[in-house]
Amino acid sequence: MQNKPPSGKIVLAGNPNVGKSTLFNLLTGKKVHTGNWSGKTVAVSQGYGVHNQSTYIIEDIPGISSLTNPTAEEVAAFKAIASDSYDCLVIVADATNLTRSLAITLRILELTSRCMLFINLCDEAKKQGIQIDTKALSFILGIPVVASTARKKSSAALVMDAAESVIQGNVSPFVFTPLYSPETENALASFSYDRRETILHICLSGDSLLPLKVDMAERVATLSEKIERISVKKSNYTSKRLIDTLLCSHLCGIPLMLLGLFLILYITVFLSNYPSMLLSQMFSFISRLLVRLFDFLSVPELVTSVFIHGIYSTTATVVAVMLPPMAIFFPLFSILEESGILPRIAFNLDGAFKKCGSCGKQALTICMGLGCNCVGVTNSAIIASKRERLIAILTNSLTPCNGRFGAIIACISIFLSQGNGALTAFYMALVLAFSFLSTILASYILSKTLLKGTGTPFILELPPYRRVNVFKVAYSALRKNTPGILLRAVAISAPMGALISILNRFEWLLPIAKFLDPMGALLHLDGITLLAFILAFPANEIVFPIALMLYTQSGVMVSGFSHATLQMALTQNGWSAASAVSFIIFSLMHHPCSATVLTIKKETGSIKWTLASIILPLAMGVLFCLAFNALSQIFSV
């Protein structure tokens, strides 16, 4: 498809959360992840679409709320809209809230006439009794208007037909709608419409330009309402109010959110045990076959040790422990995203984050960090203020990702709950509450020290709830997140596995662990556990497999071990309930994994902030463990 020269470039633009990514997926056949909250798309996606035997480049740009005053993350979208780089701009609108989409459409029409309007979510609008007269709209705006839903396959042909007509110039003459006051319009009359904005910016400074823009924005809002009154019959936001009454209420809001989180974790933890065990058995079987093959080929023992007991074992352990929880957590979380619940969480928790100099959207990055800290860090881009975004990035690794769940749950199950499933889930919820409070504390410290500053205005849009196609969303989430994260972990695990194998082969690991023993004792841990945390830099999942390998001196890292095996090894090496609590604290607060560190470097573009993101949780972990050790000695836990 890509070999044929493209006949044009089509860019999808519009307000956030109107279904641009869904339309992009439909037109290109790609599977870009979608979500029901403002700011989900933070990067430009590009693909190819074919229509009437012609190939078109299709580009999905981040949503934009304001062309008049774009925020930092909207600037890229604004530049794309204002540029000459496309042949047709498809403005994607939300049929259930057309006034807002019309406002941005009118503003885009001031910049370009090479566009069409696609009114999405008509199925939901129909359910709400909204009827749209597309012919009247097309007549008023002077551009092709298509109304359908991006989830329907037939919509692709309708959009591409209209886009093709724009590209080929088969559209009605441009109808210009005056947006500024009569005086300003008179002053601008001698300039062509696409140069008006530039002229205004040249003639007026920021301070005198803004009142003019405010006046214009009010006119656009009023005009949008008028157009909507002509072309739309509606009744709006009423039916879903009951859900908000529950989710945003003082009494039920927080308990319902905690219950949802508890259920997601419970399902993730308990469903992932079985596939993890199966994968582990399969990898062990393959390992035995490989050993026989290497023996048959008379491969030197050192090579066998490095390749099978090092690279293969480490990689297989990471995959067996990491894949099943990821494959369950991400789809479950995506269902929450798609339904529109996440911004309500930000609304409910904004008070706590405001007190520590941040904003409620940080709660969303924390939720995403529960799946993978890399995803949490990347999606911090939804926070408009740079200072608040940095706070969210630097503190994200204090949220335990899926990779840390396994070890924390094993500790709880063995030393605290004695295998009681419900009690384990309860203690896990306490651990998460502790992690949340430590994030709030770290954010507060940062906002009073390294990242001092005043709060910026915070506008949080609460999108309407949407019906979720569970299987489609789950599949899309699985495809989008899992392979990338797994590959990154495997890419770092393999060389680390070789290193561990060589260190083990020459019997250097135990002396290093012994060297770390005094430091470990201060933290109520031991040298082997500290060394396991260091060697598990590629992926948090392998902390216990490494520790077990060193405790049992087996020389081979294995996953899929039972809690009984782990309990025996740990208790024989002096572990107690207090050691388990120290382990959990240090597991929550230590250096981020390698993939997260690389993501932080990419997002901040700064070595200073990357180092800060490593030092901050590590320092907190050491301090908390020291304090716990002192307390446990006082009370002789």
Binding site: S65, S66, L67, T68, N69, T96, N97, L98, T99, R100, A103, I104, R107, L210, P211, K213, V214, A217, E218, V220, A221, T222, S224, E225, N236, Y237, R241, D244, T245, C248, S249, H250, G253, I254, F347, N348, D350, G351, A352, K354, G360, P457, F458, I459, L460, E461, L462, P463, P464
Partner: protein
């Protein structure tokens, strides 16, 4: 009165604004206009943020930001 003083369930219309222009521009782009009614629907647990429905869009604002927007109450 200030928008932040609107109680849950009350409706108002825009009177005038002392908001930083940049904030007000975003709100008008989201559907706030002199002709569109504004309804306060929810208040969060800390009481520092309220959700307002205007122009078909549900938007939550912190009280200090909503303080800069003057409204005239139309329905209690």
């Amino acid at each position: 009165m200030k928008l932040s003083m609107l109680n849950v369930g009350e409706k108002a219309t825009l009177s005038h604004t002392n908001t930083p222009h940049s904030l007000f521009l975003r709100l008008t782009d989201m559907g706030m206009s002199p002709t569109s009614p504004i309804e306060c629907l929810f208040c969060n647990l800390s009481g520092g943020m309220k959700a307002y429905l205007f122009g078909g869009t549900l938007v939550a604002l912190r009280n200090e930001d909503a303080d800069c927007i003057e409204v005239i109450i139309t329905e209690v």
